[in-house]
């Protein structure tokens, strides 16, 4: 049984069809990236899945439980952070965990609470008021709250928002651990495509409230292409030589060529050297398949 199945989900908002016949499903233990341009309906989909907003049409099954018919039973298997890790800042981290533990259908033991505190490494600060926490700590506490009842599906909406690079790295580590050790299926919505490429196993791309693509990020790792940025002189010669490899764009004082396969990069360097074009700057930027897809989706 798939942990999460979304079937023909639709929702109209202010006369506009925000989610339109959206269908997808998740396989157990994998981390899914949920991609799409701004306004494509990612957050709305997440809110529909966790029943924060009502669907006009469609079905959501969480561990086989129909959200429309058995809301509480379905929600028992899901944990989520929608946008921000909204917690009671006037309570301590532990009081927050105990608060949400009391809302679980299955009793949650003190040991389980200690276990999640250890998992998110908040042992030293758990009895402090949440208002004294950094954003990264709040995010970790939010995850602890979401996994307290041992859900099989965890949904995170823009979890890296506002986190510094170190916080992002830590979060990535916790999420991978959850998927690997506890077999939790994750759906991570993020506009940071590089982050999705690094973290996720698969990706679902939506546009205008419809799923337009789903692909394996692990097997597509080698399908990445590169953008090449070159500052060289004489410029006319540089342009002529670079044009052999694709469309060249002039951007301020540098040339850019997109969509270059990894194996082609030495050939570009060799051509410039052989033709006596002196380059002052040669930078490559890896563009993964997820990023390429979203760029294409955005361009329509």
């Amino acid at each position: 049984m798939k942990p999460l199945v979304v079937k023909q989900l639709s929702r109209t908002f202010k006369g506009h069809k925000v989610i339109n016949d959206l269908s997808f499903s998740l396989d157990r233990g994998l981390i899914y990236g949920f991609l799409g341009p701004n306004g494509s309906g990612k957050t709305m989909t997440i809110r529909l899945i966790v029943s924060l907003i009502k669907m006009d049409r469609g079905e959501v099954f969480i561990e086989g439980k129909d959200l429309n018919k058995n809301r509480e039973e379905a929600l028992q298997h899901i944990g989520a952070i929608v946008e921000d890790p909204d917690l009671y800042t006037y309570l301590s981290g532990r009081q927050n965990l105990e608060h949400f533990a009391r809302m679980s259908q299955k009793p949650i033991s003190e040991e389980r609470i200690e276990q999640v505190i250890d998992l998110v490494e908040l042992t030293n600060r758990i009895d402090d008021k949440v208002k004294t926490y950094s954003l990264g700590m709040k995010q970790r506490l939010g995850i602890a709250v979401s996994i307290l009842h041992q859900p099989s599906v965890l949904i995170l909406d823009e979890p890296t928002n506002g986190l510094d690079p170190n916080g992002i790295k830590e979060l990535r580590y916790y999420l991978r651990r959850l998927a690997k050790q506890d077999g939790v299926t994750l759906l991570v919505s993020s506009h940071q495509l590089r982050e999705v490429e690094v973290l996720c196993d698969r990706a679902i791309v939506i546009k205008d409230g419809q799923a337009v693509d789903e692909f394996d990020l692990r097997s597509s790792a080698t399908e990445s292409t590169y953008s090449v940025y070159v500052t060289a002189s004489p410029e006319a010669d540089a342009y002529t030589q670079l044009a052999q490899f694709g469309n060249v764009e002039k951007n301020e004082n540098q040339f850019v060529i997109y969509d270059q396969p990894y194996e082609q990069i030495p050939a570009i360097v060799e051509t410039l050297v052989q033709q006596n074009v002196r380059y002052m700057r040669f930078v490559t930027n890896k563009v993964g398949r997820a990023l390429l897809l979203v760029i294409r989706v955005r361009e329509g």
Partner: protein
Amino acid sequence: MKGLVINETLKAWHGRRIGLAMMMMSILILFIFIVAIAIDQSFGLLLTTEEFVTIGSVLHIFIMLYSFVLVTGAISGEASTGTIKQLLIKPVSRHRVLLSKWLTNLVISFLLYCFVLALLFAFGLFFPHVVPLSSTFYYLFETALYTTPSLIFYVALATLIAVITKNTAVTIVLTILPYFFADLFVLLAAEYDWASWIVFAHIDVFNNYNPVSLAPAPFPSMWASIGFLLIHIALMLAIAHVIYKRQDVL
């Protein structure tokens, strides 16, 4: 349900600072006590326990206002801080979530009122009494009971407005307005036959049905008035629950 009630109590205590409210009430009672002693000694009024308790019972206005803060904080406060999202993702029905909110805060408000009356009684013991203390205690108990329909009515009204507006300030203002000005409206409408069907005409159960009261009772029997109030309370809460269940959390 027990867990939800504990949660709401915890949030009311820490978030809406019940301890601080109790301290403020105690300071107010102490202030009334000092003023009463000063007046007593300056003018030789010889205040009694019953008189002190009667003067002090005016503090029920503060309890009523604080009950609005408690209920709106629990409902619209959670909507504005965003904590409502995490709350409604949990496997608990929205009915139970809302029920726990207004019920817990209603009970807390009532207990706070009892605390104030008990403190008034304790301070009142410093004054001489002409009627037995048990009668004064019974009077306080009766006052608490007579205030209950009004407290429940306004908590239900605040619940409904908080659910609809999801805004703490708007809810408090919209609940305070009828609390202070409904009597005036009832007075202006008094010359019409339908005035007795205005729900606000039934709220002050104590004065409406007190044998020494000069105001005419809206209904022949107190229980008919209470029944009429209960119908409105049930209706307001039912509407609040239906809206809360269907409401989108954006």
